[in-house]
């Protein structure tokens, strides 16, 4: 299967954002661990690693705008709907379990990982229902 130019651009952006994520996260972890982050800088330093992740969602939106093949675009929209539905469902169930003290409290950023797992599930759903290659 040939990849569209829009998909290649998306991948390029994700690679750069991944590198940026590592560049923000590693110093932040090191800085907080060794008490090197002054109080005034704590919030910006803590938030910085989240920006490239938000950027990935932006890149995905950009991909949907740039993708010229309407069928391929529709497949990605289906995957995103799967990912969002899956994440919201997991968050809802976990929230109730947490509320009744049946599971431990989970950090909010784990939802991002769940969302990307949902994106993969959406790809599988596309494969099962439409016979398309899995893409995530």
């Amino acid at each position: 299967m040939t990849r569209s130019l829009a998909w290649k651009r998306y991948n390029g952006r994700v690679i750069w954002l991944g590198l940026l994520y590592a560049a923000f996260l590693l110093p932040a972890v090191y800085g907080f661990k060794h008490g090197l982050v002054p109080g005034w800088a704590a919030y910006p330093v803590a938030v910085l690693p989240s920006l490239p992740i938000i950027g990935i969602f932006g890149a995905l939106g950009r991909y949907l705008v740039e993708e010229q093949d309407e069928y391929v675009r529709m497949l990605m929209v289906r995957q995103i709907l799967w990912a969002s539905g899956f994440t919201l469902s997991i968050a809802t169930v976990w929230g109730f379990l947490d509320n009744f003290r049946l599971v431990g409290h989970a950090d909010g950023y784990w939802l991002i990982a769940v969302w990307f797992i949902g994106l993969g599930l959406g790809g599988l759903a596309n494969r099962v229902t439409l016979g398309t290659p899995v893409r995530c």
């Binding site: 299967m1 569209s4 309407e70 069928y71 391929v72 529709m74 398309t132």
Partner: protein
């Protein structure tokens, strides 16, 4: 939505990849349209019809006409 894409493609001896290249879409898009798994947008449907130099209703079968014909 039913269509005559496979037949029309065969008359010109085009593969799915050939048609995809002419339409500037992926081969999987052509396959999905051909097998009725995906209904193309109106602009793409017109592009397909124009490529085969046919009116759009000679390429795609109107679902409402098809159901009334069945009655």
């Amino acid at each position: 939505m039913e269509n005559r894409l496979r037949v029309l493609r065969a008359t010109r001896a085009w593969s799915q990849a050939d048609l995809a290249e002419r339409l500037e879409v992926s081969r999987q898009s052509v396959n999905a349209i051909e097998t009725g798994k995906y209904d193309p947008s109106l602009p793409l449907a017109f592009r397909i019809a124009e490529l085969f130099e046919l009116p759009i209703e000679d390429v795609f079968v109107s679902p409402s006409r098809r159901s009334s014909a069945a009655i």
